[in-house]
Symmetry: C2
Subunit: 216 residues, 2 copies
Amino acid sequence: MSKNHGISEAVIKRLPRYYRFLGELLKQNIERISSRSLAGKMKLTASQIRQDLNCFGGFGQQGYGYNVSELHREIGKILGVDKMFPTILLGAGNLGKAIAASINFSARGCNLIGIFDIDRELTGKVLAGMNIYHTDELESFCKQYKPTVAVLCTPKATTQATVEQLHNFGVTAFWNFSHYDLTPDYDNAVVENVHLGDSLQTLTYKMNVLSEKENI
Amino acid sequence: MSKNHGISEAVIKRLPRYYRFLGELLKQNIERISSRSLAGKMKLTASQIRQDLNCFGGFGQQGYGYNVSELHREIGKILGVDKMFPTILLGAGNLGKAIAASINFSARGCNLIGIFDIDRELTGKVLAGMNIYHTDELESFCKQYKPTVAVLCTPKATTQATVEQLHNFGVTAFWNFSHYDLTPDYDNAVVENVHLGDSLQTLTYKMNVLSEKENI
DNA sequence: TAGATTGTTAATCGATTAACAATC
DNA sequence: TAGATTGTTAATCGATTAACAATC
């Protein structure tokens, strides 16, 4: 796991949210904002916002606050929204299809260039404007197009092997939706595990607590 | 937001993962496990596991460790996997369809009983074995079936209004996939926001850090 | 009994919040 | 200049880790 230039995971997780809120303000033609007023909108503290932003530089100005469009641009740069990481998606099942169709990859520095599945029924069909390739073609595709990001919508059982293969082919970032918990042992790899089932269960846990409370 | 019986958010977020790993061990017919050995598998510390579990009770035994099937059952009970919260899904777009089809709701204490969309093109079609209803029927449906959990795959713009409406109809848990950040002002409501775009951006951030490091 | 491993208290570490001097 | 608000240091809070007595 990379050391993230010393920026804590907690701060990193908040960055995309800052970026979104600033984008909203920009749309509303709001020119400047204070940490206090942004904190109000985002349900954070002004202190935390100033601390977070100062991890990356002094974007504000005393007595004025932050220039919305400048701050938005700076955070965008930090997040790499202007990048074009060649990205592939593996597993064109229900979730894979939905992600290919509904995520705006290019607004997030990723360029989706290929979709793969083992099912020959799907191979050749079109999804999100691109052909679905058979997994057999993965190696030659990677050699030619050199993707660096992979979206994993693969079954639990095959994920680990797929990751090892992809890593050999030069993929270093894994957005993992499979039920397999990916903990990369490579130094030069980054992982983001998304486990939707776990997310639903934290909700049901809270729901249980809530309903117990009400039954008292 | 509910106070979760004093259990910290960090612990709650780890519970579903404990449950999954214990389920795996159970499948492998492993009878008992020590906090040390579980920590090795889950890449946590033994200390943390013992602390986490002791929030809910003394499930282990000195000198022995934890009985896998007992601990699995206990955590399942805490998460409420045996519940049957009536659940509805709003928005049968790409993501809504994928979630309806790919999430095992019943294994997580939820019983998906209805899918709704404003698009009359979709109304009447079948998804995940059930009819898609028009949003107009939401009120009468809620009065009859009293769902308590809602999955929101709705557009950003309509989410807040939908939540207010649903809350009036008795829905108290919201699994929110819309791009709108839900921060419920009700006491008797729980929310889990899932923002897939944000998740991808934390990955691209780390990818940027990684590629900068390599270019040194 | 001796060995193992928990439950739990104490120590450490990190993240959030508060305070305030610097400065626009 | 006076008022506002940042950047930054110090204080607080909470979560993780370490240690160890209790006990199976």
